[in-house]
Amino acid sequence: MSTVPTQSPQTYPIDRIRADFPALQQQIRGKPLVYLDNAASAQKPNQVIDTLADFYRHDFSNIHRSVHTLGERATAKYEAARDTVRRFLNARQTEEIVFVRGTTEAINLVAQSFGGSQFKEGDEILISAMEHHSNIVPWQMVCQQTGARLRVVPINDHGELILEEYQRLLGSRTRLVSITHMSNALGTLNPVKEIIDLAHTREIPVLLDGAQAVPHLPVDVQALDCDFYAFSGHKLYGPTGIGVLYGKRELLEAMPPWQGGGEMIRTVTFEKTEYNELPYKFEAGTPAIAEAVGLGAAIDYVEAIGWDHIAAHEHALIEYATEMVHTIPGLGIIGTAAEKGAILSFALDRVHPHDIGTFLDHYGIAVRAGHHCAMPVMDFFKVPATARASFGIYNTLEEVDQLIHAIKEIIKVFG
């Protein structure tokens, strides 16, 4: 596992953190909620909920359009959130931070704007065999429009990217590499620095899908030198409907807008429209203003806990969960990469994941059962679906025990 604990988990303020999340205080079917579906979406702390409510109560207005006080206040908060994101990703400039609806929209933006204007017949786009559908389908769409071709870097039986194959597939026709930083179906952490450096020796830009990575580890886009980075607020304990596309300024400058409307223009006549500067060129229409402010609050929240603490805590959870499930006969882990985040995807010999999901819900335990929007991964491992427990900052070792206990009960019942 990659996350090296630098603090002992004992110093982790778990009680205080749990108390911040009102959704965790409830019972499900008479049992305390054990929320292990964080990879799908995370619960929200009071700090985020209150920020949203306060913003709507006191500061709300449309932005960038009004000279009145509320207009200026809302604009200032929205732009402050953008700067928080810039700091969070260590981007050079706030102009490189584009607010979008989420990871999916960020990738579609790059596919349509960058890909749509650059790709030609015979060009190649490189993705991996562990991608979420949102890092597959937008590329298939732009391939159809341009005649470019999608190439897929294979994975091994542990669910790790095969780097030699990646190197082999990187070629003179490759126009873009788009790879997930961390796999949602397997937990695999990809060697993104190596992936980027190898692509850059051929001057090929790289997009990282950071939807899963961002809640678990610090991301420094300058150190990585990635060209695009996409993530969603809702998996980072923030609101839905807000996400981020980071892009290097030179690339974003050269890209055409992808949606037209208000906000993204400087002047409009019926003859000609002059586009606005970055990042507004890519933010057509009224954005998710309160949600952006809420995302800023979510970032402040996780940063206040500290990455060292989070890494150590989640490392302890996944290590313990992995060790414990090894004691369960008939349980197979899907995704056993050496470098792995806090995701445990598993299957039982005799119980379908859907039944596991329903049973666990009766123990108050929320997991995801299904293909995790990664059908090619399911095909590769020859399973119809998996059950997935994914951990976050507020989960505990006792919750892992409850999960293990419930799985053992299920096996007993199904015999």
């Binding site: 379908h352 859907h354 329903t358 299904g370």
Partner: protein, 150 residues
């Protein structure tokens, strides 16, 4: 087992999941159809043998959760020997009850299928119970390709 799960997972369901009936291929089937639930990856292949409009044999193969396997197994038992029209009527009644469109449970009409009515409380699991039936319906209508519950 937790008591509140008994509504959904009755002993009959476990029985049919462990030992599905008519779980085989009919080599000379008159109708063959594949059903797929992309949401959970359940797959079923249904084989039907007809004599005029009577279902003389029906079987299935595939991979699915306990609810979908038991539903398919029970279905093959109940429709064998029925006419296409009778099977169609059963499908309509079953579908209405499990999707909660018919609160007036006519359980005697459903016979053994009544054990599956617990899925009404589990909206995300209804498609598991209806996959085999949707496949049967398409097959009886003469569609040979595949059905999907999405």
């Amino acid at each position: 087992m937790l008591d509140d799960l008994r509504d959904l997972y009755q002993e009959v369901v476990f029985d049919h999941n462990r030992n599905p009936r008519n779980f085989r291929v009919i080599e000379d089937a008159d109708r063959t159809i594949e059903g797929f639930n992309p949401l959970c990856g359940d797959r079923i292949t249904l084989y039907i043998k007809l004599d005029g409009d009577r279902i003389t044999d029906v079987s299935f193969q595939g991979q699915g959760c306990a609810i979908s396997t038991a539903s398919a197994s029970l279905m093959t038992e109940i429709v064998k020997g029925k006419t296409i029209q009778e099977a169609e009527k059963l499908f309509q009644a079953f579908h209405k009850i499990v999707t909660g469109q018919d609160d007036d449970l006519k359980l005697e009409e459903l016979g053994k299928l009544a054990v599956l009515t617990g899925v009404r409380q589990y909206p995300s699991r209804i498609k598991c119970a209806t996959l085999a039936w949707h496949s049967l319906e398409s097959a009886l209508k003469g569609e040979q390709s595949s059905v999907s519950t999405e």
